[in-house]
């Protein structure tokens, strides 16, 4: 179960918004890059984000580069899930692979609302506004990847990939 505060963002949030290339290429490890998450969009995001917080965005979230760092860093800083009306495809694959729940849904939520995400049932509750939204539940294989915390963890535990 994922419960957290909402960070409300708009359409076309790019991978350069999440982690600017110019800063990524001047950093060594993911740990070093944490402080740059949303650098040009939300000052000091890495300090104000709390574990379990949920991003709610518009269309085409994760548009741009294939940098997996974008999905990985959101997970590392504590984001519990990203809910968007649509996702760019490479970001979506990366998020699944690193075990960051990505949910395609349009929901009503404002900054700092509290939401609860039920991945298995395909349900999102906006607790602040007493509203419930549904989304198309994930296939078993994808849910299992989220449960294991990513595809690498899945493989290490089960000795095979989900499609084998």
């Amino acid at each position: 179960m994922i419960v957290g505060r909402v960070w409300r963002l708009g359409d076309d949030i790019t991978t350069d918004h999440i982690i600017p290339g110019r800063l990524k290429y001047s950093s060594g490890s993911l740990e070093d890059m944490k402080k740059y998450v949303f650098n040009d969009l939300i000052p000091n995001f890495h300090e104000s984000v709390k574990p379990g917080d949920v991003i709610v965005a518009g269309k085409n979230f994760g548009y741009g580069s294939s940098r997996e760092h974008a999905a990985r860093l959101l997970k590392i800083v504590g984001i519990g899930a990203v809910i968007a009306s649509s996702f760019a495809r490479i970001f979506y694959r990366n998020a699944v692979n690193v075990g960051l729940p990505v949910i395609e849904a349009e929901i009503e939520a404002d900054q700092w609302d509290i939401v609860k995400v039920h991945l298995e049932e395909g349900k999102i509750e906006n607790i602040t506004k007493s509203l419930v939204f549904t989304f198309k539940p994930f296939p078993r294989e994808i849910l299992e990847i989220f449960e294991e915390g990513g595809i690498v963890e899945y493989f290490r535990r089960r000795g095979k990939f989900p499609w084998e």
């Binding site: 600017p20 085409n60 294939s66 990985r72």
Partner: protein, 415 residues
């Protein structure tokens, strides 16, 4: 049943007829990663604990290359070390950008399924390969298993018929298309380019169309292997089989463009799909002009730019950075005399690298500066300061703007 180009390749690689919307596991012919993505790929391969690669694998050092800082140099060392231990072919500093150097060396042919840990992997669709970008972990798993899971995409057709005007290029065509379809207009879809104007293009131009298709979300961009592409391939890969869509192939959408009506276009800051004809937005003063990247750093791009630069001078106070996409392009610039024209005009010519396109190094934009660039993206802060503004344009528009020191329609120089 008739098939699109992407359906044909995925059916072959899955070993059965596949249909849009289904998930398949397909055999991979080639997987590549660069210094921006390979370090994580290496980490994942080591974490997975397997001992051998089941796919042909290539690394390129092109993003922060030559290394602008110590961390980048350390990453490169790690890649070289891994490559020599695991039998990964590596194109090191100075060889060029992955999407350019890999096809130049004859390592991709039509019908191949290519996985690249870079969004612009779609460029190789210009050669008839199903080539798609993924992240580092996907690349690691594809290298280790020789397979990848994919959702079979719906195909959409973009047909461009007619003849382009003398001062209109492939970049203007693809910006026109992106402006119409939007930044997610082809999300998850295979874009297949058809029509007489596409067929007439050089491979360099076709690569521009395929390359920029990811800016509207395309999973792959496919172009039939007609005459000029075949000649190029014959020299490099020897024997190959071309690819075309079946006549009755099923496209979920069909967009038609008339080549003769397309004008020189630009993407306005800060979004690629924010497109306008240059003539309507001329005039903003320019600080930096960049000709380079996997989108606009091929030989033809410099040839186009030199049509305007030759015999003219760079406007005082403007920087013009020219970066060939590969060593082969660089050598052709020298052999053809174009290198001299670029330098005489006032360009600063860099070594083959992605350079300022990804804001890594080699001529970034400062606060408040305006850039005209032949590269791939103009997101805020992409090429330097978050307060800089980037216009994406053809090499002709870039050259015209470098001469005038402000955003300028190349039609003023050519007609």
């Amino acid at each position: 049943m008739p098939m699109t180009m992407s359906e044909k390749i995925l059916s072959k690689k899955a070993g059965r007829r596949v249909y849009p919307g289904e998930h398949i596991v397909a055999d991979v012919d080639l997987v590549y990663a660069h210094d921006g993505t390979a370090p994580l790929t290496i980490e994942m391969i080591e974490e997975l604990g397997l001992r051998e690669l089941r796919s042909r694998a290539i690394f390129t050092i092109d993003h922060a290359s030559p290394p602008p800082n110590v961390d980048a140099a350390a990453n490169h060392r790690r890649m070289r070390d891994f490559a020599s231990r695991w039998g990964v072919r590596i194109f090191d500093v100075g060889e060029g950008i992955c999407h350019q150097v890999i096809p130049e060396r004859g390592l991709v042919k039509p019908w191949d399924l290519v996985i690249g840990a870079d969004s612009h992997t779609v460029t190789l669709g210009a050669l008839g390969a199903f080539a798609t970008g993924v992240g580092s972990t996907d690349a690691a798993i594809a290298m280790l298993t020789g397979k990848i899971w994919l959702k079979v995409p719906e195909s959409i057709a973009v047909k461009v018929d007619g003849t382009l005007k003398n001062h209109v290029t492939a970049k203007d065509v693809i910006l026109e298309v992106i402006g119409k379809l939007g930044s997610d207009g082809a999300n998850y879809k295979a874009v297949e380019f058809l029509g007489s104007a596409v067929e007439a293009m050089s491979l360099d131009s076709k690569m521009v169309l395929a390359n920029m298709s990811v800016e509207m979300g395309a999973k792959v961009a496919m172009i039939p292997t007609d005459g000029r592409t075949s000649e190029w391939l014959k020299e490099r890969v020897g024997h190959f089989e071309g690819i075309w869509p079946d006549e009755e192939a099923n496209y979920s959408a069909f967009y038609e463009f008339s080549a003769g009506e397309i004008k020189p276009n630009v993407s306005l800051p800060n979004s690629v799909d924010h497109v306008a004809p240059v003539e309507e937005v001329e005039g903003e003063e320019v600080d930096l002009v960049f000709i380079g990247s996997c989108s606009g750093g091929r030989f033809e791009d410099f040839l186009l730019a030199s049509r305007i630069m030759r015999g003219r001078k760079l406007k005082e106070g403007v920087r013009c950075i020219a970066v060939p996409a590969s060593k082969e392009v660089q050598m052709k610039l020298i052999d053809s005399g174009l290198m001299r024209s670029l330098l005489e005009f006032g360009c600063t010519v860099g070594p083959p690298t992605c350079g300022p396109c990804i804001g890594a190094h080699m001529g970034l934009a400062g606060p408040g500066e305006t850039v005209v660039s032949t590269s791939t993206r103009n997101f805020p802060g992409r090429m330097g300061s978050p307060d800089s503004r980037v216009y994406l344009a053809s090499p002709l528009t870039a050259a015209a703007s470098a001469v005038e020191g402000k955003l300028t329609d190349p039609g003023r120089f050519l007609s």
